[in-house]
């Protein structure tokens, strides 16, 4: 039977944290069986279909200024709808493994599109190919309208090569900096000339724009096209290592253990870059459960939100609120800041973001109020502070979620609430001394305890 602490560790990394139903379903099995069940039963690819795929620019053409304003508003609303639909998938435990993998690929094959149809399709490509082999995934991504626009390959023509896509393909997606030369970038760009899209985002290879000449890429010479470039990249040890490192940093630890990364890289090579096999291998490895890896990853803002949503069965009350909240926390899913993607690891943390994060739970679940005991509240003595506090609580309503505290408390009628909650929320990472000194005897409601616990820095980790 799998250790409970290990089950939580697995769920933190393969999914989006503790989920009551998931934990119930997975108890009393071996590690192998648990991983197997998760990969088989919680791994369906469900495309998003909240945006009509046939919508085109013509549908948003406007004639008058009022009309333009209205169309702009429509696009904004649809953008928020798409974003919220993806967040709802993240919070859905039934396909948690697939969704976590898509979340990972979004920050590896970083791309964004202000065209909502293209953005939805890009999401669905990552969804469909999340556990495919890397070659199919890379080709699908490279031929998507979103990517062809984002990194300007649609403007990449024989007479006027545009290197933007070729460069990022080598640097960020497949090889990593230092594993290719400037000349390789130029030659790869030539090979991708003519990859573009027509109409409503349908991929097209335009032969007249393609440079049919001989190219030399990573030491090989031939009349290469885009497929050849991807395939030559995948032959490189550097590629397996780059992908393995990206997977390791996301799923295991911010600090690289060379031997462990190397094992993942070798698995990628041996399985012909089969992502499904590689990920199963990772979660079945003994080293994945080493003490050094448990509770050592910082939650991303989305992981934080998903954990709050799942643990407390809480929901954002509108798409617009959810959008604003992601903006506040600097992680708007599907809208990365640049092609480098969202920050990784502890890079999320500085003084301001940390405080924002610590105040998040009380903001979402309790109108911004953390200290329900007013005697402790220094604000009461300082009028300016009081004013700020009231203003803050007013602002908070812009983000607030809906949750049923009574229902939540009902789960914690019996037993030691503090112990139970501390286990669920921190995987036992908090010592009993600290717990008992922070919580006095009369704080006996599960609500008060839970709110304070998730406002501790320890909750930032997973």
């Amino acid at each position: 039977m799998m250790d409970q602490q290990h089950v939580l560790h697995l769920l933190n990394r393969i999914g989006f944290g503790y989920h009551p139903k998931l934990v119930q379903l997975l108890s009393k099995q071996s590690r192998n069986e648990t991983v197997q069940q998760l990969f088989l039963e919680f791994n369906k690819s469900i495309p998003l279909q909240v945006i009509d795929d046939q919508l085109s620019k013509a549908d948003f053409k406007s004639t008058t200024p009022e009309d333009r304003k209205e169309k702009k508003e429509q696009i904004k609303e649809l953008t928020h709808t798409l974003n919220a639909a993806w967040f709802a998938q993240i919070c859905d435990f039934q396909n948690v493994v697939r969704n976590r993998m898509v979340y990972f690929w979004f920050n590896h094959f970083v791309c964004k599109s202000s065209n909502i149809v293209f953005a939805q399709r890009y999401h669905n490509i990552l969804m469909e190919h999340a556990f495919d082999n890397l070659a199919s995934l890379t080709i699908a991504v490279s031929q998507s309208a979103a990517m062809l626009s984002y990194l300007n390959n649609r403007q990449n023509r024989k007479e006027a090569p545009n290197e933007n896509f070729a460069r990022e393909l080598l640097e960020l997606y497949l090889l990593g900096h230092g594993n290719y030369s400037e000349l390789d970038v130029k030659e790869a760009a030539r090979a991708f000339t003519g990859w573009r899209f027509i109409g409503n985002g349908v991929f097209q290879f335009r032969s007249t724009d393609h440079d049919h000449g001989i190219k030399t890429f990573l030491g090989q010479t031939g009349n290469f096209n885009g497929y050849d470039i991807i395939s030559i990249c995948l032959q490189q040890q550097a590629c397996a290592h780059h992908i393995a490192k990206s997977i390791y940093l996301h799923f295991v630890n911010d600090e690289v253990n060379d031997d462990e990364v190397n094992q993942v890289a070798q698995k990628l090579l041996k399985s012909n870059y089969n992502i499904y096999e590689t990920m199963k291998f990772l979660f079945n490895s003994d080293w994945f459960y080493r003490e050094e890896h448990i509770q050592q990853k910082l939650k991303t803002p989305i992981q934080l939100l998903a954990t709050v949503a799942n643990t407390f069965n809480a929901v954002p009350t509108s798409n617009d609120k959810l959008w604003k909240l992601q903006n506040l926390l600097d992680e708007v899913i599907m809208y990365p800041p640049n092609v480098g993607g969202f920050p990784k690891g502890m890079a999320w943390i500085d003084s301001a973001s940390l405080i924002q994060r610590l105040r998040l739970p009380s903001m979402l679940l309790n109108g911004g109020i953390l200290n329900m005991d007013m005697e402790q509240d220094a604000a009461a003595e300082d009028p300016y502070m009081m004013q700020h506090k009231l203003q803050y609580q007013k602002n908070v309503s812009r983000y607030e979620w809906q949750m049923d505290w009574k229902k939540f408390e009902a789960n914690f009628v019996e037993g030691n609430k503090l112990e139970k909650l501390s286990f669920i929320l921190f995987n036992n990472a908090l010592s009993t001394e600290v717990l008992s000194s922070l919580f006095t005897i009369h704080e006996n409601s599960a609500k008060v305890i839970a709110l304070k616990l998730i406002s501790l820095p320890e909750f930032q980790m997973c």
């Binding site: 092609v339 943390i349 000194s437």
Partner: protein
């Protein structure tokens, strides 16, 4: 250097009932009163096209390579026989003429890297192109200070910290507004938790979170006391950069002891339809800077301020097929301040006849500028901070 101990000087009254964990005792503020000099770094993100900022308007090659993108004589303000300032930046022209703005041409580094991230990392870390340093040049400058350092020795006016202001042990403070930041740090439960945590040291990443929290509370209180609700009375343009600069002017006036401020502006990655986009950005930049300088002058702070404007690379000489330009290499750096030694341009503008595969060859290593600033403005030996490229330029 004289330093004051924070806990003995700044009013403990401000801190009210807050108690601080042991590891904060003895934290010092930066130099005060006797040396009020500060550096303001403005980062233009995306790769600003220097050739359309400081324009070689007398050069045929420029017009040949940029048939649609080049600026005509009417679109530039003549600086000398060879070059002119993009006319959208007219607000800066007076400073150029009276010796308060210096232009350095062809700034870059050997073996240039055309990736945004890599080149920005090179500029921010102050490394050579073939070495990777995961600390910033200003962060390492702060690391040099002995003993515990106030969190706001360096300050970034942003939600996030840039590599430039992250040292090995020291990381800068980041906020958009000091007053708001102060109030968000005051939550008794956080203070209780931080106090508790001094007993725990095993979980190093969690400890980092607790230290960050406590440092922030302390700095926020100290800055708030000094700032004391002073507001700049100048009207700045409506532009994120202008908001940042306005607050910097207020903080400089409050003498909070910060040695370097880091601000930024984005939107310079102009692969497509560059002209209108870049012109608008440059106009905003120039107008924001002009108000900032007037603001500093009114309070006699301009002599104590040095502003450096840079971008991670310039752009290719030849325009692309989409009315834009692709990633290039060397670029202009602008320096502004009341104590510049050199007037006009430090070196001649590129004549565009000697290019490296269509890109400008660098003439001034950017680390020469850093070295000069470190040594002659921040009073720190450049060799303690930079591993190479140390040569001094004669501008301060």
């Amino acid at each position: 250097m004289k330093r004051r101990t924070f806990l003995t000087n700044t009013g403990l009254a401000v801190l009210g009932s807050m108690t601080f964990p042991n590891f904060l005792k003895g934290i010092k503020l930066g130099d005060e009163l006797d040396d009020r000099r500060a550096l303001v770094v403005i980062q233009l993100g995306g790769g600003n096209d220097g050739l359309n900022m400081i324009v070689p308007f007398a050069n045929d090659i420029y017009y040949r390579e940029r048939p649609t993108l080049s600026l005509g004589k009417a679109e530039v303000l003549k600086l000398n026989d060879d070059s002119g300032l993009n006319a959208q930046m007219a607000a800066l022209l007076p400073f150029y003429h009276n010796g308060e703005m210096l232009i350095i041409n062809d700034v870059g580094y050997p073996e240039p890297d055309r990736s945004h991230f890599r080149s920005m990392d090179i500029w921010q870390s102050g490394s050579a192109s073939n070495e990777r340093i995961n600390t910033g040049w200003l962060g390492r400058f702060a690391d040099q200070v002995e003993g515990p350092l106030a969190k706001h020795h360096l300050l970034e006016l942003n939600d996030k910290l840039s590599l430039a202001v992250k040292g090995k042990t020291y990381k800068a403070l980041a906020f958009q507004n000091a007053n708001n930041f102060y109030h968000t740090t005051r939550e008794p439960f956080f203070t209780d938790a931080a106090t508790m945590h001094q007993h725990q040291h095993d979980h190093h990443k969690v400890s980092y979170l607790y230290h960050t929290l406590a440092d922030a509370q302390l700095s926020a209180a100290a800055i708030k006391e000094k700032l004391n609700f002073q507001h700049s009375s100048f009207i700045y343009p409506k532009e994120p950069l202008a908001n940042q600069l306005k607050h910097v002017a207020e903080l400089i006036q409050a003498y909070i002891g910060t040695k370097a401020y880091y601000v930024g502006m984005s939107g310079f990655d102009t692969h497509v339809q560059q002209k209108g986009i870049q012109n608008k950005r440059l106009k905003s930049l120039a107008e924001s800077l002009a108000v900032f300088i007037s603001d500093l002058k009114r309070n006699k702070n301009f002599d104590n301020t040095l502003v450096m404007v840079f971008s991670e690379f310039g752009r290719r000489v030849k325009e692309n097929a989409a009315g834009g330009t692709d990633h290039g290499t060397a670029n202009n750096v602008l320096l502004l301040g009341g104590q510049l030694k050199k007037k006009g341009m430090l070196n001649d503008i590129n004549n565009l006849s000697d290019l490296d595969e269509g890109d400008l060859k660098y003439k001034v290593d950017f680390r020469n500028i850093y070295a000069t600033i470190l040594d002659r403005w921040l009073d720190t030996p450049a060799s303690n901070v930079l591993s190479g490229g140390i040569n001094y330029l004669n501008f301060i």
